[in-house]
């Protein structure tokens, strides 16, 4: 014999009953229960140390400590050298941070995302150690991102109430917008500054036509910032009869309907140039004997203007 045959707790600290439970235990309602299988149910639990769930390779640690409270995610991946972390901290008085860091899967330790709230007492500029940081703080005058910051399918609203407005400094790379920018209050440029156009595009020459050369500007098409487009340069070639297409440019830059321009040619001669909605530049009623055509001073509103 070693104790009762039907003991509450068996010898050697082994639970031999199917389960032990508190008086009046009701699953999901009240009391506690510990089952021999390893399952258990409690009401409130205070754990002074670390809580760990999962198996030996893939598990979650919930822990608190002097450096903040955090949850660590160990994926079990063989190349994982550091766990994923969600951490809540109060680095200085009155300021709280939430940090989310992905695990290092062998490609280098990725930067963490840190959300910070509360006033910065000693610095009005965002002096953030993490390159991926957003600080919600009315006193902060600038934010610095040293690495690419992407928000996909999201919207950023910046509202300034002070006289200084919102200042964006894109650095040497400038500020890039891949979609339409709408300024409902207009755009004010300082003296000496201007809205810059895009680059010069090289057209496709018609049969027998090419750049004039000899130091003159080669024919190019231009998309201007006011949604007009135009031509520059001098073209030469044959045939030089009416209906000859001397060059073509992308149809997206073409006018909605055909436009006709007067173009100077060699020896004071002239020709009409027909710019079509398909992006073709066609000689129209040319003087006899023309050998080159100046394309300057030709511009039109692009389709959709």
């Amino acid at each position: 014999m070693s104790g009762f045959n039907n003991p509450v707790v068996g010898g050697n600290d082994t639970l031999v009953r199917e389960a032990i439970q508190s008086d009046g235990f009701q699953s999901g309602v009240s009391g506690w229960r510990i089952e021999r299988s390893g399952d258990a149910e409690f009401n409130d639990v205070v754990v002074r140390g670390t809580v760990r769930t999962g198996d030996s390779g893939q598990y979650i640690l919930i822990e608190s400590g002097p450096d903040g409270n955090r949850i660590q995610f160990f994926s079990g991946a063989v190349q994982e050298v550091a766990p994923g972390v969600v951490e809540v901290d109060q680095p200085v008085s009155g300021q709280s941070t939430l940090t989310v860091a992905a695990p290092d899967l062998g490609y280098g330790n990725p930067p963490a995302l840190t959300l910070t709230s509360g006033p910065l007492v000693s610095d009005n500029n965002a002096d953030l150690s993490s390159p991926y940081s957003i600080t919600m703080n009315a006193e902060i005058l600038s934010l610095a991102f040293s690495q690419l910051f992407d928000l996909i399918s999201a919207r950023i609203n910046l509202t300034a109430t002070g006289a200084n407005g919102i200042n964006l400094d894109g650095g040497p790379g400038g500020i890039n917008a891949s979609s339409l920018i709408t300024a409902s209050g207009g755009i004010l440029l300082p003296v000496g500054e201007y809205i810059k156009r895009g680059g010069l595009g090289t057209p496709t020459f018609g049969t027998g036509w090419s750049a004039f050369g000899g130091g003159f500007q080669a024919p190019r098409y231009i998309e201007y910032p006011d949604h007009t487009a135009g031509l520059i340069g001098v073209a030469t070639g044959t045939p030089a009869t009416g209906g000859t297409t001397i060059l073509s440019f992308p149809a997206g830059l073409a006018p909605a309907a055909s436009h006709t321009f007067d173009a100077p040619c060699n020896n004071g001669k002239h020709t009409q140039l027909l710019v079509t909605s398909a992006g073709n530049v066609v000689l129209q009623n040319p003087d006899t004997g023309i050998t080159w055509v100046s394309l300057g001073n030709i511009s039109w509103p692009m389709v959709g203007f």
Binding site: M1, S2, G3, F4, N5, N6, P7, V8, V9, R17, Q21
Partner: protein
């Protein structure tokens, strides 16, 4: 000192809530009990809900003197009382909870005792 066999029986009746305590212990000065087994009994059918019987050996039925506990409140035995040396004023306690109200209960302690 002379060592003789010990067999002590105590009995009682559980109250209206199915609780009750029975104790047995040395009755005279100079007598020392060396219990080996404590057996508990409760007459009647097993109670419909979980019941327990806790056994203690010492001056009172508290955690400091706990020996063993069972869910089988009708008939079970434990040797976890062995090793105790009980003198006058000390007892083996059996404490029922959740038993059948009004049921007769019995505590039997066997072992050795030393008498002057």
């Amino acid at each position: 000192m002379t060592q003789v066999q010990l067999r002590a029986v105590g009995s009682g009746t559980l109250d209206g809530s199915g609780s009750g305590t029975v104790r047995v212990g040395p009755l005279g000065h100079g007598v020392t009990w060396l219990p080996k087994v404590a057996s508990i009994r409760m007459a009647g059918d097993p109670p419909p809900t979980a019941a327990t019987c806790y056994v203690y050996a010492g001056v009172m039925a508290t955690d400091a003197y706990f020996c063993d506990a069972t869910y089988d409140v009708n008939n079970d035995s434990t040797d976890r009382v062995s090793g105790s040396e009980l003198r006058l004023g000390q007892y083996v306690f059996a404490v029922w909870s959740g038993g059948t109200p009004g049921a007769d209960v019995t505590l039997i302690v066997t072992g050795d005792q030393e008498v002057p």
